[in-house]
């Protein structure tokens, strides 16, 4: 087990909290949120999981001309008594991989609570606010977090031909190993799934900020939210069709498959074009 864990430091922490984000999860939310925390809190790397058993290493992928290599790294912020785990999603040996994550949490860091961040697609307009919610490893942690209004009293069973998310798998392992844990589910409007949704980033960060007293500065994120909202307003003003489809959503009307696809493609093209133009 320890051969797969590569420690570069042993941070002194006092029963810290662990926050987990997967870099390529739904709308890349987990990766973006953990990136923000690592940078803002100046968290330092202290342990990596060796990728050899968990990722296909027959080559590398390239994104925007940059070679990508799967990384699974733990960071620590002593000041905030926080451990952050940011990782690519493993392709093999999930049970072993997730148990390694919980090993680092319990055996090396004595983590007291674990939060994983996930996005979930919604079919509502970006102009309509929707709340985040959570699933919990036990009634106790649900009760502990009751002030954050994350409960929906939801019952759910994976439908046939679908699979649970990696975050649910992790929550189950945390439950089995008696690590209090919660998965935070942040709603992301379907036509913002392929581009960044700074509103969703902020929602996830606000929960962590309130819970862990991180005193985060949202200036940059607020600016991104404002910029994106203004772009979407301009897009609606320039295209009656886009405006009409979003209005349908705002009136809680169901979209046709064509309208759905049209909105996703048009918004994606427009926001990316704007992004590339600076």
């Amino acid at each position: 087990m320890t051969e797969l864990l590569k420690f570069s430091a042993q941070p002194k922490l006092r029963k810290p909290t662990l926050v987990i984000g997967w870099e390529s999860d739904t709308a890349r939310l987990g990766g973006k949120v953990t990136d923000f925390l690592i940078k803002t809190l100046d968290a330092q790397p202290f342990c990596d999981i060796d990728p050899v058993e968990f990722f296909p290493l027959g080559g590398v992928t390239i994104e925007n001309d940059i070679v990508q290599f799967p990384q699974s790294t733990f960071y620590a912020s002593r000041e905030h008594n926080l451990v952050i785990f940011r990782s690519a999603m493993p392709r093999y040996e999930w049970h072993k991989f997730l148990n390694l994550v919980v090993d680092v949490a319990l055996i090396y860091c004595h983590v007291k609570e674990m939060y994983s961040i996930g996005g979930i697609m919604t079919l509502i307009a970006h102009t309509i606010s929707s709340d985040s919610w959570a699933t919990f490893s036990s009634p106790q942690i649900k009760k502990t977090l009751s002030a954050y209004k994350l409960s929906r009293d939801m019952d759910f069973e994976t439908p046939p031909a679908s699979r649970p998310t990696l975050n649910s798998y992790l929550l189950w392992i945390a439950k089995k190993r008696e690590l209090p844990a919660a998965n935070l589910w942040v709603p992301i409007t379907f036509y913002l799934m392929t581009v960044d949704d700074p509103n969703a980033h902020k929602k996830a960060l606000e929960f962590l900020d309130n819970r862990l007293d991180l005193s985060l500065d949202y200036t940059g994120i607020d600016a991104n939210i404002k910029k994106q909202n203004e772009k979407l307003i301009r897009l609606r003003q320039s295209s009656e069709e886009v405006d009409g489809v979003i209005k349908k959503l705002e009136r809680n009307q169901r979209l046709s498959e064509e309208e759905h696809e049209y909105l996703v493609k048009t918004v994606d093209d427009y926001l990316r074009r704007g992004k590339n133009q600076g």
Binding site: R91, Y92, E93, W94, H95, K96, W133, A134, T135, F136, S137, S138, P139, K142, L150, S151, R152, D153, M154, D155, F156, E157, T158, P159, P160, A161, S162, R163, P164, T165, S168, Y169, L171, W172, K175
Partner: protein
């Protein structure tokens, strides 16, 4: 990674019958039908963690209650002559790239199954699956047989509606069996078990369809029952066969008329003279298969 046995019955000279999903689920339906008909008792399981991604999460009032994994279970049944051991795997331990098991994990799974066979001193191992054949869905499927011991060939030849793979028209002496239903017989040979794989014919044009083909399972079940001298009074596959015939007919009617016409000719010629579907026709099936069904999307 391991085997968990809930009980350790003393079994008399048992035979092991193994099934995993595959094309048309021919093999697993055969084995599951026999297991249910004989009311075999659960014996144990292979722990799923190292082989499978979970297939189900259960949440009640926001609390994660449980997580489900594909089952890999052993069963046993005492019989007058030879007792029976069953192994039924709900999924093959595949990677995302392939629907069938391959590589290290597949070999590990095969050996865990054989560990149980060895523990109970099994005589023979049976697997079953589908044989993609140039045939028509209205024809009675035959059963192709292969074994890992020369000495078993003559016995296999003696069963009705059962032919050796090398005797299938146009096949010659070469062939392969994809996934664990084949690999297990190979691994069994390496460990000194006699092994037999029985494959029910499924028409080539249905082999990519995401539905079961119980007609082939029935053919395999009949051969297996004869080999094992088991009498099955009521074959529970009959109802399933009737249901699936309606589904197959519906899909068949959606084929382009020119493809259907070529396939219809198979009804009127002997199997030796039948022609495989053309590359163009196969391409058409690949491109249009999703149009026949409304597939659920994963979450």
């Amino acid at each position: 990674m391991g085997i968990v046995l809930h009980k350790e019955p003393e079994l008399h000279n048992p035979e092991m019958i193994v099934g995993w999903p595959g094309i048309g689920n021919v093999g697993i339906i055969t084995v599951e039908t026999l297991r249910q008909a004989l009311q075999a008792e659960e014996l144990g399981e292979i722990e799923p963690w190292d082989f499978f991604y979970p297939n189900k999460v259960v949440i009640k009032a926001d609390i994660l209650i449980d997580m489900g994994f594909p089952g890999s279970k052993f069963y046993f049944k005492r019989m007058p002559k030879h007792d029976l051991l069953f192994f039924i795997g709900e999924e093959q331990p595949a990677t995302r790239e392939s629907a069938y098991a391959e590589g290290k994990r597949a070999y590990e799974m095969a050996n865990l199954v054989l560990d149980v066979a060895q523990k109970f001193s099994c005589r023979r191992i049976f697997t079953s699956g589908a044989a993609i054949a140039i045939t028509h869905h209205t024809a009675q499927p035959r059963v192709w047989a292969v074994t890992n011991q020369k000495g078993l060939l003559s016995e296999l030849r003696s069963f009705d509606n059962t032919i050796l793979m090398s005797e299938v028209e146009g096949r010659g002496n070469q062939g392969s069996i994809t996934g664990l239903n084949g690999l297990l017989i190979g691994a069994a040979k390496r460990r000194g078990f006699d092994g037999i794989c029985l494959m029910g014919e499924i028409p080539d044009y249905l082999s990519r369809m995401p539905f079961p083909y119980p007609k082939a399972s029935k053919a395999v079940l009949n051969t297996l029952a004869k080999i094992l001298s088991i009498g099955i009074t009521h074959n529970p596959l009959e109802d399933m066969i009737l249901q699936m015939e309606a589904v197959v007919d519906n899909v068949y009617q959606q084929f382009p008329p020119e493809i259907r016409e070529r396939l219809e000719q198979r009804k009127f010629t002997t199997q030796a003279k039948q022609e495989a579907i053309s590359e163009e026709d196969e391409q058409w099936f690949k491109e249009h298969i999703d149009e026949f069904f409304n597939k659920d999307k994963g979450v």
